[in-house]
Symmetry: C2
Amino acid sequence: MLAEIITIGDEILIGQIVDTNSAWIAQKLNENGIRVKQITSVSDERSHILESLKAASQRADLIIITGGLGPTKDDITKKTLADYFGVGFRSDADALEDVKKIFAASNRPLLDVNIRQADVPENCTVLRNKNGTAPGMWFEYNSRVYVSMPGVPFEMMYLVEEEVLPRVKAHFRLSAIVHYNILTAGIGESFLAEAIAPVENDLPPYIKLAYLPKLGQVRLRLSAYGENEEKLRQEVESYAERIRSIIQEYDVVHDDKPLEKAVLDYMQQMGVTLAVAESCTGGYLSHLITQHPGSSEVFLGGAISYSNDLKKTMLNVSDETLARFGAVSEETVREMTAGALGNYHSDYAIAISGIAGPGGGTPDKPVGTVWVAVAGRNKVETRKFMFPGRRQQNIERAAVNSLIMLLKLVREDHG
Amino acid sequence: MLAEIITIGDEILIGQIVDTNSAWIAQKLNENGIRVKQITSVSDERSHILESLKAASQRADLIIITGGLGPTKDDITKKTLADYFGVGFRSDADALEDVKKIFAASNRPLLDVNIRQADVPENCTVLRNKNGTAPGMWFEYNSRVYVSMPGVPFEMMYLVEEEVLPRVKAHFRLSAIVHYNILTAGIGESFLAEAIAPVENDLPPYIKLAYLPKLGQVRLRLSAYGENEEKLRQEVESYAERIRSIIQEYDVVHDDKPLEKAVLDYMQQMGVTLAVAESCTGGYLSHLITQHPGSSEVFLGGAISYSNDLKKTMLNVSDETLARFGAVSEETVREMTAGALGNYHSDYAIAISGIAGPGGGTPDKPVGTVWVAVAGRNKVETRKFMFPGRRQQNIERAAVNSLIMLLKLVREDHG
């Protein structure tokens, strides 16, 4: 069972927006045992859309299309789909009701172009969109299923979860897929590959191992495809155990969740709280944590002490420390954690201070120099990093490494 | 002059990573007058990669390929490219030197698989990668140019800027492209379209108008393609002026930069500073701001007062206010801005408190309720929003709207 995703819209092809929809849809399809064969982004251009639809239908059983359903002239997906299927249009009563509701709720006048949003190709089953004015559309044509949805992420997400996936499950007989993730840190991809080669060479053809390097970590992913989910799971787990026994010291988490979520969940289980003191990461670490619902059980908040003044007023870093060692120093991050623990009354604290770049580097402390401290009630761990990247990469690496250090410390305290 | 981007790697197709590379590359190509016809993501599968290369070469002059160049078994791009071009391999001395340097610098042992990273298809010109072990590769074949780069973003970015773009400019005769962006807020896409229809209908065929809706804003983008850049720019500006005179009250910024960067630049010009007090946005607003180099000229820092306790200790919000009106209230965000201005000594402050969801909603204050205050030394503006989205969308909308409110206030003070 193969799927393809086609995103339509000039905004992706000129790079004005990043296509996050496709990754999200791909993840959902994978969880349900549907392999995504190709993701294609094309512009709002009739002939190219038709060509992409035809090419996708030759490779896949399910074609998911997003974008190009707005009311304006540059949105031509609906018209092009009708041409592709060789059908005309009908006005859909349910879709029109949804459009009217949206406009009534926001007190905006209903324009002609909006009423026309309820016009759909004759062969379509409308997937009702409660969050926007463009309905989702389901088509069955030449033994393929086509789904068209608006490109606005939360409208698309709602449609996929509530309308598309239930229909896809009912329509196709799906083979099982089982993933197992092992997040490693502190070991390079090639060294890792050499270490676990004996296991990799033993894998049967229906179990694949992928290396997903990211910011100094490597995520190993075992994926098994087949019919018997329980049997696949057992097999995958036994290979995963072999891998984990080889690389134990580099094994961070084996949940299929982001690192920060794994840290949050572990701290919540242990009943402990966290405050942060961010300088060069400028809120990124806090955002990483608070993007997860329920993070407030663990995360109390913290200081974005971007300026030196705020390191003093918010975190009680001493004038002397700043003058003698500088803002990017072991002493400063130590005092930042002490200030965070003291002022914010958390069980643990993270402090980060560094030079994210591109400016601000010196011969002593070049761009990429980052000091991290993690502290509990009884212990402070500090570490200096020299990251090789650009601003955003340095920020992300600093945040990720601080979380790895924190997890280690909390585990020691509660192991 | 058309280009296509092909990203290779299972991690995109299972949705484990978002393809940010393609957007970045597309942006760079566009800035240089190269239109991206299609972006394609395929898995590490030989026949499918070959098929994609062939299809892309039938539509485009330049094919940019990222990913699949790691040292591990699942990375097969290089081998597949050699097959596509019908050539063997050679070891490249420069590439080998770069590999050795990287390993020497990090004190890691040089493995056989790493030495093989310097093996390249015979017909390739090596693009030296100073940030990683996989060299970039440039191929000319059947009047098309193919470029292959590693998928690690900062390695790819370096190669594009330093190696690929200069060569592309030298190799192709490029037609000019001019963009003009107008960011609007507070007006729906269809209402906007109706308002500016007279201008849109007047546009010549070589000037396109796109509507890019995002989080309650609509970005209008005029794009002109042709030979004479200066003439295109004048034409585009004259259409843009007509549009801006129609929609003036909704016109936020017309720079081709993100909203927060426009706000930062304006505040820097005015010589004023900013502190923030974030509750439900949890660091997202600070991160949005501090991702930009030089933001420290304006941004001092602030409080992530996620818990109620921290609203009191960090921002002096009174017990009485919290008890009587709750954390999500006009009174609380007012006091948060006062606390931020007072404690952090900035000229302006933003405070945000709301219910991002999915939990925490009540009949009185459902999920999506967000109070924002922006304050200068003489004035506080507050506003209540009711956002319809999911957690991340609510967080983003709150941050974006707070920036629009702030820009308005700073402009009033300095207009």
